[in-house]
């Protein structure tokens, strides 16, 4: 990919664009694609600790975009308990003193981009929170590394590298042209990431329910 980026910039020997610059561009490209199309998903475990309400996502990993599902495991309620996701406002509506509630965790609520709260919080340590999260890809380290993204998105990475090179040259028109090509790939990646949701959706016309049935004549 580095060779293709340099070829696209007409700098095959990498005089104007050193390898490190191209590598950073490819890493940025993978991040941008992962942000737009949520395809990279991971699961991490955090031990449930007595009395702990707020958990930091920095403790989970440094590649967390955002968690989308948390399962409480190993507590007395059930071996696996998918926790319901609420906002802080909704949590307050259920219980104004939810901070004090003790028991097996049922709900979780994002507090900040880097932390979330659970409610109730356990009175005793034990069990784990399995956190499913959308992730940024790991940066590539070696020349023979392959991107974590699907094969169809690899072309987009090359295009992004060319876009960054053209931007560095202040070549406005070529830069914008390559950017529009990259966007087209990114949109396709977004569509691909939603395929499961589209296929599982129940689609039907709703009934023309007007409330009261029309009385018979």
């Amino acid at each position: 990919m580095r060779a293709r980026v340099l070829a696209g910039l007409n700098d095959a020997s990498g005089i104007l664009f050193p390898a490190a610059t191209v590598h950073r561009s490819l890493d940025d490209a993978a991040e941008v694609l992962a942000e737009q199309a949520p395809v990279i998903k991971r699961t991490a475990l955090i031990a449930l600790e007595a009395g702990t309400i707020y958990y930091s996502l920095r403790r989970v990993s440094d590649d967390v975009i955002r968690p989308y599902r948390i399962v409480s495991r190993g507590t007395s309620t059930a071996p696996d308990w998918p926790m319901e996701r609420l906002s802080l406002i909704e949590l307050d509506q259920r219980d104004e003193t939810w901070v004090l509630a003790q028991g097996d965790p049922i709900w979780w609520a994002p507090v900040s981009w880097d932390s979330f709260a659970i409610c109730p919080h356990p009175a005793q340590s034990g069990g784990v929170l399995a956190i499913d999260y959308l992730a940024w890809p790991q940066s590539m380290q070696e020349d023979d590394d392959e991107p974590e993204l699907p094969e169809g998105d690899h072309e987009a990475l090359v295009l992004y590298g060319v876009y960054e090179g053209q931007a560095q040259r202040w070549a406005v028109q070529p830069m914008l042209e390559v950017w529009s090509l990259f966007k087209r790939h990114a949109d396709a990646a977004t569509g691909r990431s939603g395929q499961g949701r589209v296929q599982s959706r129940l689609t039907q016309r709703s009934l023309a329910d007007t409330g009261d049935p029309i009385p018979p004549p």
Partner: protein
């Protein structure tokens, strides 16, 4: 990724490594501006803060212009009148100046904590928030949510809501200064946190009514030597030390045939060395090889089973960490076991004895385990509640440094607030208010400012392009904080009202209760 590294990347992108068009200082300023903008727009950097009850301010002002000269939180307790030229402590002073017969006024106060000593005042019940405060997300008193209300709603509820005493139920941004909130009803029971002045160093000891553990995750420390009493300290670290063995030996197997306390020349000469350096046969030889000078005792030639005194003219340096093995009684006599100390102190009941080890590794052979706490407090834990590290206004988001505040949310005000970076980051700093992967959007915002600046390098198209990319980053960052609702699907309802239960009657807290 430091700010300096980010600036390098920006200069790479600008093709301006020599800063011929855009100076490094200019880029650093724009970087800080863009960083703060991103945090402001997204509003997803939320932190928990506990406030003193009643509120505590760094300074009390007489005139508003004084606020510009103040660092820290400010409060203006004085009443204003006479076309802004006068400040009053009590409202009757205003009447007096206007040549009106003064009426009964309320007591004035200078700081909010004085409420604990007052019956009633006409001042707002105000809490100040620090400089990096952006907006409030949730306010609680005693861990119970307080409801946000407007002043108009409060006016509709009561004519004297500003003075009503009771349990707090509502909060409002009220009629006070920026970065402040007011809480009603007024609960003025003293609940202050502990603030450690930076000039006073680190907290060395914490104590209170609650039980908690202190985390002190320094390096795994081990002691280099152990000692049994005050005399030993002198023997190993002080010049002119005196050591009085009964038996001397040079080989370890000989130790079984002597009487304690024994003296091993080889070990004592090399106590700070990992390897054997010298072996001596007679004590006087020790001085010749660099050890403590020992007078030759001609009266006892073989010195076996004899009492000798070794006097050291050179300090026997035992640098490092030592462990005191004994427990000293009130009479300064020491015992190895705790029960010995108790016995010497005249106790009637005694602790159970245990195997005492001098070093940590002896735990493997039955000695009681011990750890050596080194360094500062890194955390506290309890099975009953969470001790959460929170930022103080002097830090930049990373939980490093020392404990500067120690507060509780019990019977006090706690707020979830959106915060901003409150200081300019310099090149060596690492931004901590957003994930490192989003730093590229700060770069785009800086690039937009670079190309948008008039003069050399101005390019409207590039400025517009980078502006749009920075906006996408802000939107993405905002969405990170909306994880609760990000994939919810909303739809219009049918418009048919379902039968609902009437809301419960809520009586004022002053309503008479019968249990």
């Amino acid at each position: 990724m430091t700010v300096g590294e980010e600036l390098d990347r920006i200069q790479d992108r600008l093709n301006d490594r020599t800063a011929a068009i855009w100076s490094r200082e200019e880029l650093a300023q724009w970087w800080n501006d863009s960083y703060r903008d991103l945090c402001t727009v997204a509003a997803v950097v939320v932190r928990l803060r506990c406030l003193d009850l009643p509120g505590r301010h760094s300074h009390a002002l007489t005139f508003d212009w004084e606020a510009t000269e103040s660092t820290g939180t400010v409060w203006a307790p004085m009443l204003q009148g006479a076309a802004g030229s006068r400040r009053f402590t009590s409202s009757w002073e205003s009447e007096h100046l206007e040549r009106v017969t003064p009426s009964q006024g309320f007591a004035g106060l200078t700081y909010e904590w004085e409420r604990a000593h007052l019956e009633s005042t006409d001042r707002r019940y105000e809490f100040a928030l620090p400089k990096n405060h952006e907006r409030l997300k949730r306010v609680a008193w005693n861990n119970r949510k307080l409801f946000p209300v407007s002043v108009r709603e409060l006016d509709a509820s009561s004519t004297s809501w500003q003075r009503r005493i009771g349990l707090p139920r509502w909060w409002t941004t009220g009629t006070g200064r920026v970065r402040s909130l007011e809480v009603y009803q007024i609960e003025a029971t003293y609940q202050q946190g502990y603030a450690q002045n930076s000039l006073l160093g680190l907290p060395r000891a914490l104590q209170g009514a609650r039980s908690y553990g202190i985390l002190c995750d320094g390096p795994q420390a081990t002691n280099l030597y152990a000692y049994t009493g005050r005399g030993d300290v002198q023997a190993v670290v002080r010049e002119g030390a005196v050591f009085a063995p009964i038996t001397c030996y040079t080989q370890s197997w000989e130790s079984a045939y002597g009487r304690a306390p024994r003296y091993n020349f080889t070990i004592n000469l090399t106590m700070n060395e990992p390897r054997l350096r010298h072996t001596v046969v007679f004590p006087w030889e020790m001085g010749a090889v660099g050890g403590p000078v020992v007078p030759d005792d001609g009266d006892q030639a073989d010195q076996e089973d004899s009492f000798i005194a070794i006097r050291s003219n050179a300090p026997v340096a035992l640098n490092g960490l030592a462990r005191l093995l004994t427990h000293e009684s009130a009479s300064l006599r020491a015992g190895t076991q705790v029960w010995e100390q108790e016995f010497l102190n005249g106790a009637s009941s005694f602790s159970t004895g245990a195997v005492v080890g001098a070093f940590t590794w002896e735990n493997r052979y039955g000695a009681a385990a011990f750890s050596i706490p080194l360094g500062t407090v890194r955390g506290a834990e309890s099975p009953d509640r969470q001790y959460l590290p929170v930022e103080s206004d002097a830090t930049l988001g990373v939980f490093q440094g020392r404990v500067s505040d120690w507060r509780s949310s019990d019977e006090a005000i706690s707020v979830h607030e959106v915060v901003l970076p409150d200081q300019q980051l310099v090149e060596a700093d690492t931004p901590a208010h957003l994930p490192r992967q989003l730093l590229k959007y700060v770069r785009y915002a800086v690039l937009a400012r670079c190309f948008g600046r008039d003069g050399e390098g101005h390019n409207t198209i590039l400025a517009d392009h980078y502006n749009r990319r920075a906006s996408q980053g802000a939107l993405l960052f905002k969405n990170l904080g909306l994880a609760a609702t990000s994939d919810r699907r909303y739809q219009r309802n049918s418009g048919i009202l379902e039968r609902q239960q009437m809301p419960r009657v809520r009586l004022p807290s002053t309503f008479e209760r019968v249990w």
